[in-house]
């Protein structure tokens, strides 16, 4: 136990050193106006845009974990377009929005950058920090309007090319399941029975915790809700005021969270997202609610047991829906000096070449363009197979309309996050958590004011 914790400590200390070194090294790259670093062989002359000239573009992102994979993807692009070099320049995820905004406002933004879906990205577009892509050749054909909607205005003007969707599910330790004679659950009741059985055998059933708060909301509650409310159609009923946010289905969703309380690790309130991954990969917990983006992180830990993933099961008698969420798109900085080169890159994102390079270097992120894709990673393929088996898929509950609360009001995200944690800790009943959500939204979201529970 002690040696293990020492090892963890050592690894983390090492990681801190590496990260700080990496951060030091990455800083000069954030400014496109500064002269290129001495290690760069490709230097773009600032005064020319002729395509024959060699050009270096920067690509801002929140995917610090994928720097290696992106280097490979961008090399694939460079091989096809030898004149254009794209440099991946990621920022720590929680700081990305603030950092990007500062860069754009001070004129030091990257040429290309990851754009968040819905309100956050739309806000940047409206303020003129993201270029319109309505004239980008091929975009309308290669990406469906529904896929592009999270990065388009209400009138359908797109400003970013969607590259990735993520899925959600429950990772499980196949060895522990086999040892305890448990089959993959197909209903919520079976899942709870499996958890009980594991607990009785002395195994922590679920690895999730609430220290970092966001994960209990985004990977647990948000992946339970589509099953309870009936996917997209169910969600639209709330957004249009046909259902209230404290109706029986929302209460049931919070009840599912309450069901989990006895099966979480000891001290789950101080267990962070990375602790949860560790608990699972060390075989100390049998299951982990998480997103498909975590595949490579788990593979990196090389668990000494067989593992896979299953879809979050619906309660008996309800249809299965998968939380398949739009995640990332790439947009262009209108202040970039190399617009043509940037557009060449954006068009490349719509090709099979990109899809294959992306899906197989960053397993767990699923390409969104219609170009054909082959997915090699078995777990990623399993995640994707949920979609065809389920009745439907949907994005996370609050993302489309319930995020950009006016100043001084709370978004559905914030209230649901607080509600889920309070329910888990036993500070609130599921009914109270749902009532809080309705009350908070009724303050600023018009359809919630006029809703009626039937």
């Amino acid at each position: 136990m002690m040696t293990k914790s020492l090892k963890v400590l050592q690894t983390l200390l090492f990681a801190v050193v590496i990260i700080s070194l990496a951060a030091c090294g990455a800083q000069p790259a954030t400014s496109t106006t500064e002269p290129a670093m001495p290690t760069d062989t490709v230097v773009a002359p600032a005064d020319t845009q002729a395509p024959a000239q060699e050009v270096t573009l920067t690509l801002g992102s929140w995917r610090t974990d994928d720097a290696e994979a992106w280097a490979k993807i961008l090399t694939a692009f460079h091989d096809k377009n030898p004149n254009i070099t794209v440099k991946f320049d990621p920022t720590n995820p929680p700081d990305y929005n603030a950092t990007l905004r500062t860069q754009l406002e001070t004129g030091t933004g990257p040429d290309l950058f990851f754009v968040r879906s819905f309100a956050t990205g739309l806000d940047l577009f409206k303020q003129g920090y993201v270029a319109s892509l309505k004239d980008l050749p091929g975009l309308a054909d290669s990406v469906s309007a529904a896929s592009n909607a999270p990065w388009a205005t209400d009138s359908g003007e797109p400003y970013a090319v969607p590259i990735a969707a993520v899925s959600h599910g429950i990772y499980y330790n196949q060895d522990l399941f086999a040892a305890n004679g448990i089959a993959v659950p197909t209903t919520w009741e079976e899942l709870m029975a499996a958890a009980k059985k594991l607990q009785d055998a002395g195994v922590t059933p679920f690895a999730n915790g609430t220290k970092d708060e966001w994960d209990i909301n985004e990977v647990v509650l948000m992946s339970i809700i589509p099953n309870e409310i009936g996917g997209r159609d169910g969600r639209i009923a709330y957004l249009t005021g046909k259902s209230c946010f404290n109706d029986a289905k929302i209460v049931d969703s919070f009840q599912r969270i309450k069901d989990l309380t006895p099966y979480l690790p000891n001290g789950f309130t101080a267990t962070s997202y990375s602790d949860s991954t560790q608990l699972f990969t060390q075989g100390k917990a049998a299951m982990l609610f998480d997103g498909s983006w975590q595949i490579s992180a788990i593979e990196k830990e090389a668990p000494s047991f067989k593992w896979s993933v299953f879809a979050v099961p619906p309660p008996a008698g309800k249809d299965e829906y998968v939380s398949f969420h739009v995640d990332a798109a790439i947009g262009m900085n209108p202040a970039s000096k190399n617009q043509e080169a940037a557009k060449t890159f954006l068009q490349w994102l719509e090709t099979t070449e990109f899809n294959d390079a992306f899906a197989n270097n960053v397993p767990g992120f699923f390409p969104m363009s219609k170009a054909a894709t082959t997915i090699n990673d078995p777990v990623a393929a399993t995640f994707l197979s949920f979609n065809s088996k389920a009745k439907g898929t949907d994005i996370r509950f609050p993302w489309e309309k319930l995020m950009d609360a006016p100043s001084g009001q709370e978004s559905a995200y914030t209230v649901m996050n607080a509600g889920a944690i309070a329910v888990l800790k036993g500070d609130k009943t599921p009914q109270q958590a749902a009532d809080d959500l309705q009350a908070a939204l009724a303050l600023w979201y018009d359809p919630a004011k006029g809703c009626k529970n039937n």
Binding site: N97, Q127, T210, G267, T269, D404
Partner: protein, 328 residues
């Protein structure tokens, strides 16, 4: 250097004596040359301190998205801060938590500092070693020490809970950073641990400065060590106590890094460790997760309120310490 001085001395009739002579000083005062000497410091102060401060005050009267809000709203931000139930809850919470944070530092960090200083002022073997040890944490980066403490306090593999379980106190092995009534206290204590070297050094300097004769005289009069401390040393340390108190006050009301490292930008769990600085950061710079659209005007209003609290505290201290020195 000295040679050069001597040379100029030989060439010109100005001696060091002349520089300090009243007539020269009067002359410099009269033709305004004194201003030239102030200018460098004044410029640095204006550009890096005064101008941003006033710009922040100005910003608090505006609203709009982004880093240069453009719509003038007068006192609108302040009115919203004190009337909107959500802002009232967050702001009063932040003020309360900052006061608790400050209180624990005063109680633990500064009392321990005084205690260590008294121990370290007497002569014993290994004194220098302990002096170094007590100051060492203060040389660490807060982010590093905060991160290490989150590992030590981790409920799954942290040293604290492993030790507690090993000695049979399993019931005491709590999720230290996950409980709303514990997190802030635990974080304050780790911060006090890190900075205890500062008051120790200052008290030590104060104690060393107290004349041995006074203590010897008290000893001859038959005063115990306890009485000597409370009747002689402590009263003479009062100016140091005052300075340490005001420094702790200013530091704590600006504290951000330790909370950010150990409880995130929201002061998790459930805003229970949210300080004025983290509230300001979320509002004015980062925006609320996961949308991240900052409200600079409101952020500036919160910063102005923090400034007002600090200003009131410092002025009060100046007033009290002036009166105290007048009494003496």
């Amino acid at each position: 250097m000295t040679q050069a001085l001597i040379k100029t001395k030989e060439k010109k009739p100005i001696s060091l004596k002349n520089i300090y002579s009243p007539s020269l000083r009067q002359e410099a005062w009269k033709n305004g040359k004194w201003f030239l000497f102030l200018l460098p410091a004044l410029l640095v102060y204006i550009i890096f301190m005064a101008a941003p401060l006033f710009d922040s005050l100005r910003l608090s009267l505006y609203t709009g998205e982004g880093f240069s809000p453009t719509t003038f709203v007068g006192l609108g931000n302040y009115i919203e801060l004190f009337t909107n139930p959500l802002w009232v809850e967050r702001f009063s919470g932040a003020v309360l938590h900052t006061c608790i944070f400050f209180g624990i530092h005063m109680l633990v960090q500064n009392s321990l500092g005084l205690f260590f200083a008294v121990l370290l002022s007497s002569k014993f073997k290994g004194r220098d070693f302990f002096r170094t040890i007590i100051f060492t944490p203060a040389t660490l980066s807060v982010l590093v020490s905060g991160f290490l403490w989150t590992l030590i306090l981790n409920p799954q593999w942290g040293a604290v809970n492993i030790i507690l379980e090993k000695v049979g106190l399993k019931a005491w092995a709590l999720p230290w950073l996950g409980e709303e009534n514990l997190a802030l206290i635990v974080i304050s204590l780790t911060s006090a641990w890190q900075w205890v070297g500062m008051p120790t050094v200052m008290f030590l300097a104060g104690l060393v400065g107290i004349s041995e004769e006074l203590i010897e005289a008290a000893h001859i009069d038959g005063a115990s060590a306890w009485t000597t401390f409370w009747r002689i040393q402590f009263p003479l340390l009062m100016p140091v106590v005052g300075i340490i108190a005001i420094l702790t006050f200013v530091d704590n009301f600006n504290a951000f890094d330790v909370i950010y490292a150990m409880a995130g930008a929201r002061g998790d769990p459930g805003y229970s460790a949210d300080l004025l600085a983290t509230l300001f950061y979320r509002t004015g710079i980062a925006g609320e997760h996961p949308v991240g659209i900052p409200n600079m005007g409101m952020g500036a209003a919160i910063a102005t309120m923090t400034f007002t609290i600090l200003m009131t505290g410092v002025l009060l201290w100046l007033f009290l310490s002036r009166r105290q020195s007048a009494d003496l």
